[in-house]
Symmetry: none
Subunit: 386 residues, 2 copies
């Protein structure tokens, strides 16, 4: 018996005036999700905690059954893992952008979205700083910078001023530990050396740093839950999280029907699949409710094979967080969730959407409880006590 | 005003094909429970945490309002208290079985379910080990072994190989503390001496050890909640827990109607009754849904007097954990709960079962919250703040 969680990223929304007060999910035609709702048990889930706005990273840590408050140490290390960097304990890791500066002032935070950065990455990897090894990797204008050495910290600020027209900032310690001070000093020395090394480069003549974090201390899914998992996604951060907890990571196909097939294939050789489908979130970030509805309907149309799967296995459909079209970014509203499979206590819910799911038999739970609940239904959990 | 929690052990279940997708509780005729649902407020409760499979011990700690993650130290000490042994701080306690061995190999883990073990217990109590006092008590083939001394630990493995045909195992330390090492050494020396002492006994020529734990550090119900409680049960482990938190323990009558009368009698002189009715769980462990339905109907038929009780007092009916007939053991699915009494906010639920209760006004809660909610309804809790 297998388990699959299909995350429709940012699918959950708020009522929209232009839709007569419906949400995009309520307005969309979703016969497959509705069938799963009829055959399954529904509820609403708080991505991390009621009212807390979750990132893609913290929400996916929760969906994989981890407490983000205990395991999340910043985006830097998760993206680095997603880029294929093998982190070691104690590594301090930044997300980076190649940028264009004039003097010390940012003129373009993405260096004209430069695509070829392999040679620049070589130059950066050639920089040496006493006390920490530099490991740098880039994909187009984005990169990951690992500082490897003794006594580093993730508690330092960004050099990225987060807006053009502003000067590069000094990285500062965010607490009073010598580790934070040391990490800030190293990051600032690195920044000076990058500026020098890229002096004659154009348009990418600088690297800006943000989201520093130490490598998380996190058990693998295998250790924590006894399951062997795989992840299909398009987003680096989600792949990074999956990789960090020991899941096999598979690049998603473009077409939804192909992705769903891919998911079922992967389940042949794994106990558990996490599939992230990003596109509804992107439409919501672009504040385009029509595109959001269309994407939801396309995803739904591809889901058919999971109805069969759920005859003898467990599948959950959920959103990682709400991304209201009205706001264009993640909010802390709860998300609808359905778990379908052979032994669930069905609940009379006949449609899968934010408001229908709230009347379901799961009631209100936390995203981190979905996977344990599925593993319990599969009779795959340890007894606590006797 | 009094409070009673009636625990129908293992009553909650999953939908069963042979019952047209109903659970045994849904299929059973339960007019009294249904009346309590109509007059009460319903919900579903997670025995310890969503998806976590609770034992009888951890689930009852929760029902009594304790956090099992903080108070549970293993089954050994709870059973010892249930057998009437007065534990002292620092005691390391094993559950034991008299067994039959041939050489060092177990041939019968229960020594032919031997009934008379008083003389054997005397022999065992005569064993002396440097550094720990031996206190042993048995009821038929089962026993409790207390090691009393300085610097002991509950973090040691079993000597019981848990299957016939296997040799007695060495007790091993489960962590790196000197206390665990010392406890394992004492347990192994004890085992050698038992083997020698029972050499000529038959069929019980060995004692096997399991479930070691240190005496839990737990407040009494009186200290924690200001209530004076009594427990009616048939199971040693549940009596042990009740005794440990300072409740009076009463052996249950055989007949359900007599038990319910017994409960009302006990409530004359106590604020709070916990009654555990074990039989539905036993039917579920035997995978017998017909017997489970019958037991539920018999329990329900006896509950009448608690309808009157609930006019001026509070009664909760709940299950400690789900025991699906399909699985034959405890699972982590939530359980239905109803609280009836004079001032509850009734919720329109008209039947007491897993799915109806999930639509109730208590929504989804934790088993450990039921008793505080009842005490609050009785206006018997302390204000937090001013």
């Amino acid at each position: 018996m297998k388990a699959a969680i299909i995350v429709c990223d940012g699918m959950a929304d708020r009522p929209i005036k232009e839709l007569g007060g419906k949400t995009p999910l309520e307005a969309a035609k979703t016969p497959n999700m509705d069938t799963l709702a009829k055959r399954g048990i529904c509820g609403i889930a708080d991505p991390v905690y009621p009212g807390i706005r979750a990132g893609s990273d913290t929400s996916h840590l929760a969906i994989l059954g981890y407490d983000p408050f205990k395991t999340y140490t910043g985006r830097g290390p998760l993206e680095a893992v997603g880029m294929g960097i093998e982190l070691e304990e104690g590594d301090a890791v930044f997300r980076c952008n190649f940028a264009t500066i004039d003097g010390n002032v940012i003129t373009d935070r993405r260096a004209g979205r430069i695509r070829e950065t392999e040679d620049l990455a070589k130059i950066i990897n050639g920089i040496s700083i006493p006390g920490a090894r530099i490991i740098f990797k880039s994909v187009e204008y984005r990169g990951s910078l690992v500082l490897r050495g003794e006594g580093l910290s993730g508690r330092v600020s960004d050099s990225d001023p987060h807006a053009p027209g502003k000067p590069i900032e000094k990285v500062k310690a965010l607490d009073d530990t010598p580790e934070a001070k040391r990490t800030a000093d190293i990051a600032n020395e690195f920044t000076s050396k990058v500026k020098e090394a890229l002096r004659d480069s154009s348009p990418a003549n600088m690297l800006i740093l943000r989201g520093c974090g130490i490598k998380p201390d996190i058990e693998s899914l295998k250790e924590k839950r006894g399951i062997d998992g795989a992840c299909i996604a398009t987003t680096a951060i989600i792949k990074g999280i999956a990789s960090l907890v020991g899941m096999e990571v598979v690049q998603a196909e473009h077409d939804y029907t192909d992705r769903i097939k891919q998911g079922l294939n992967v389940l042949e050789s794994h106990d558990f699949l996490l599939m992230n489908i990003k596109e509804a979130d992107e439409a919501a970030h672009d504040r385009d409710y029509k595109r959001k509805i269309k994407v939801i309907e396309q995803i739904d149309a591809a889901l058919g094979p999971f109805l069969d799967f759920a005859q003898n296995n467990y599948v959950a459909i959920m959103s990682d967080h709400t991304t209201p079209v009205s706001f264009g970014d993640h909010t802390g509203d709860p998300v609808p969730v359905v778990i379908a499979g052979p032994e669930v206590r069905t609940d009379g819910v006949t449609k899968f959407d934010e408001r229908s799911a709230a009347k379901g038999g799961l009631c209100r739970l936390n995203s981190s409880e979905v996977l344990p609940i599925m593993l319990n239904l599969m009779n795959r959990t340890e007894k606590f006590g006797a």
